[in-house]
């Protein structure tokens, strides 16, 4: 299946090159040599093709850095029936994602240097895309004792987070931020007050009332966002809100950024495309954490991406087996798969005229790379040839049986999108080719 030529050289011709890191958006070519970008530019291969390499005629399709998804849950280790690193990597490759940042919410929890090492070794042996593991911020995700951030960082953890759990105790959070800052480590937070949202399965409001479901207020998010920003101001730590979902949170973060607080934030693709009404008739595939919010909040998220206050878009990919989703709504598991719909949802903002293609791709490439400190997300010469060839007008409907993910709990079943990955390359090697799959 690999398109890499024997010489290790691949020439991309007639592509619309978009490199958000440098602001490049132009017709041109790109040369890959030995897994790295050897040359790139508007005039490359216009007249003469290089003699020996494999040539990929792009016919004006978008060639961009491979996407970096900052929030991916897998089931490895511990619940491989949900997802393995390998199966997640297939879904990622099909979604144009070349780096997945894995969450530590596994069994056992990734809170030991040896477990970070395990993830990296398993990824190297089985995954088709790059895996950047995060480690837990507190031992066993217990929210009480901080983990060995220094040793975990040396083992290769790119950030520290309790995944979908909020550290309830502000003193623990403060000390964890201070300790992380000792090592310049990035802390990634989840903002949902655990007491206000205990038992809740949907956002509080009229619709929750009509459905008769236990609900948590949207303010449960803003309260934690404000708290954590104050703690970041005390400790100076590098802090990223994994995903926000309310306009109130957005306002708080905008004000903090204005004050120069070193915080960034993400939004899950489903919070850009769905609102609380999409829960419909107890549709458990749309039970996510934090829950789908009001239409005003959804619109605020789109506006946040457009204005740049929201830094990154993530899939919040969370595979769940059918048995945990085929349950009454309140009893069903949280989570939705998203690796293969991340790019289509994001491109929706471009088609709707809300943001430029380059801006949207920045939230998926250069910006997450910068936040994580990864040498990725760029078309710069010398960078690893992690690339995605995007057909922005490829029209399709999501069908769960087409998903590469081991679990198929997509919240977008039947939904039509325009634009998705045509080919994906990691280190110059083709890891996904839509034509070849058909």
């Amino acid at each position: 299946m690999s398109l890499a030529s024997k010489s290790g050289r691949i020439a991309f011709r007639n592509a619309r090159l978009i490199d958000p890191a440098s602001g490049l958006d132009a017709r041109g070519g790109l040369l890959v040599e030995n897994g790295r970008i050897a040359d790139v530019g508007p005039r490359l291969f216009n007249d003469a093709e290089p003699s020996d390499p494999e040539v990929i005629e792009c016919r004006g399709l978008v060639l961009a850095p491979g996407l970096i998804d900052m929030r991916v849950f897998t089931g490895e280790p511990g619940s491989e029936h949900r997802e393995t690193l390998e199966s997640a990597s297939h879904a990622a490759a099909a979604g144009g994602v070349t780096t997945i940042v894995t969450m530590p919410n596994t069994d056992p929890v990734i809170d030991e240097p040896s477990l970070v090492d395990f993830i990296r070794r398993r990824a190297a042996a089985t995954a088709k895309v790059r895996v950047a593991p995060t480690a837990a911020l507190t031992k066993g995700l217990g929210g009480e004792q901080m983990t060995e951030i220094g040793l975990l960082q040396e083992a290769g953890a790119v950030a520290f987070t309790d995944g979908d759990r909020t550290i309830a105790n502000a003193r623990v959070m403060r000390r964890s931020l201070a300790y992380a800052n000792t090592f310049g480590a990035l802390v990634v937070g989840h903002a949902e007050d655990p007491d206000l949202t205990a038992g809740a399965s949907i956002t509080e409001g009229e619709y929750a009332m009509r459905l008769g479901l236990p609900a948590g207020p949207a303010a449960a998010e803003a309260i934690v966002v404000e708290r954590d920003i104050r703690l970041v101001e005390l400790t100076g730590a590098r802090y990223h809100f994994s995903q926000i979902s309310t306009g109130a949170s957005l306002d708080i973060i905008a004000a903090a950024k204005q004050r120069g607080v070193p915080v960034t934030c993400g939004v899950a693709a489903h919070h850009l495309a769905l609102n609380e009404l999409d829960v419909g008739s107890y549709y458990t595939f749309r039970k996510v954490k934090p829950p789908l919010r009001s239409e005003a909040d959804r619109a605020a998220m789109v506006e946040g991406v457009a204005s740049g206050i929201i830094d990154v878009i993530v899939s919040s990919h969370d595979p769940q087996a059918a048995d945990t989703k085929r349950q009454p709504f309140a009893a069903a598991a949280f989570g939705a798969v998203g690796l293969e719909t991340l790019l289509p949802v994001a491109l929706g903002l471009v088609h709707d005229g809300r943001a430029s293609l380059s801006h949207v791709l920045a939230t998926l490439t250069a910006v997450p790379a910068k936040i994580l400190g990864l040498r990725a997300g760029t078309l710069a010469k010398g960078a690893a040839a992690d690339l995605v060839l995007i057909d922005p007008d490829d029209s399709f409907a999501v069908h769960h049986a087409d998903l590469r993910s081991r679990a198929q709990n997509t919240p977008f079943e039947g939904r039509h999108f325009h634009g998705r990955a045509a080919k994906t390359f990691v280190g110059g090697e083709c890891v996904f080719d839509r034509k070849a799959m058909r």
Binding site: T138, K139, E144, Q145, M146, T147, E148, I149, G150, L151, V172, R175, A178, Y179, N181, T182, F183, L234, T235
Partner: protein
């Protein structure tokens, strides 16, 4: 016994509550006086009559082996009657307040009271309620002046002077009275002080002492003349301040590899008791070429004799009148 020299006044205050209140001449005079006791303590007859007839009470609300025995020995060598009171045997454990204890002790007419207490400011409080000289042997996370003085004596005997010396204080500065007293003393005497610790073990605004702050020990140790290690309490190593002993030792434990980054000939100090393999490697602690830890203990007795001697000079010859 040594002949009684004309006793000049050394300390302005009748108490030793902290280093912060001391002047450079006072510190220098105490160190000079302590030198005479080092010589005395190395002789066969270690006893003087300087404090004959005086009563010294060691009042320890926190367990301490070396400080208490050091003061006890110092008092006895100077000829004082020494009584040890520890919290387990006192009525404090029966609910008596610190002021009640002070009043009771005052009625026993001690001349010198050495006090250690878990609360910052406790020695100061006692000094206001008692008629005798109060010596702070450690109050909470505030000061431990005799430790800083004995450290200073140890350094001065090895290096001659403080001016221009670079001293790194490493570890749990947040909870350490030893660190605070040493910072005051070293800065007063002209040394440069660096604090090396993870951010969770440094108080907010620690730089306001006028010290340099390092979170990376390997950077902080470069060019250092003296490395002072602090003890890390075990209960602080399980996730609240530091995640584990192995992580702490990896980044902040002093071993020969990290010590190599300090100035050649740098010395290592520790106030004790040590956690081997946590803040200090045994190979460093037991290396007689670099470790001054045993010497610190010896200087401790001499310094405490000097402090008791100096304070007793302010005591009235006739004793106090009855109330």
């Amino acid at each position: 016994m040594t002949s009684a020299a004309p006793a000049e006044t050394i300390l302005k205050s009748s108490h030793l509550l902290g280093i912060e209140q001391l002047s450079v001449p006072e510190i220098t005079a105490l160190l000079d006086l302590a030198e005479t006791y080092v010589a005395l303590n190395r002789g066969a007859d270690k006893k003087t009559a300087t404090l004959r007839g005086r009563t010294l009470i060691n009042l320890f609300f926190e367990a301490s082996t070396r400080t208490q025995s050091s003061f006890e020995l110092a008092g006895k060598r100077l000829g004082a009657d020494v009584m040890n009171m520890s919290v387990k045997t006192s009525s404090v454990s029966k609910g008596e307040t610190l002021i009640d204890t002070a009043t009771t002790l005052n009625a026993m007419r001690p001349d010198l009271l050495v006090v250690r207490h878990q609360d910052s400011g406790a020695a100061e409080l006692l000094s206001r309620k008692l008629d005798c000289c109060v010596i702070n042997a450690g109050d909470g996370s505030h000061e431990h002046p005799t430790q800083a003085l004995l450290d200073a004596l140890t350094i001065r005997r090895r290096r001659g002077a403080f001016q221009g010396l670079v001293v790194a204080i490493c570890g749990d500065v947040l909870h350490s009275r030893v660190a605070r007293s040493n910072i005051h003393l070293l800065l007063k005497m002209g040394a440069r002080v660096r604090l090396i610790a993870p951010r969770t073990l440094l108080p907010a605004d620690a730089d306001r002492f006028g010290v340099e702050i390092f979170h990376d020990m390997k950077k902080g140790l470069q060019g250092v003349d003296i490395v002072m290690m602090l003890r890390l309490q075990l209960e602080r190593m399980s996730g609240a301040f530091v995640p584990s002993t192995r992580e702490y030792f990896h980044f902040y434990g002093l071993d020969h590899e990290k010590l190599k980054l300090a100035k050649p000939g740098a010395f290592v100090m520790h106030p004790g008791p040590m956690n081997r393999g946590v803040e200090i490697d045994s190979a460093v602690a037991d290396d007689i070429e670099v470790s001054l830890i045993q010497e610190q203990v010896e200087m401790g007795v001499a310094i405490r004799m000097a402090v008791l001697d100096a304070l007793s000079r302010g005591l009235a010859k006739e004793g106090r009148n009855a109330p």
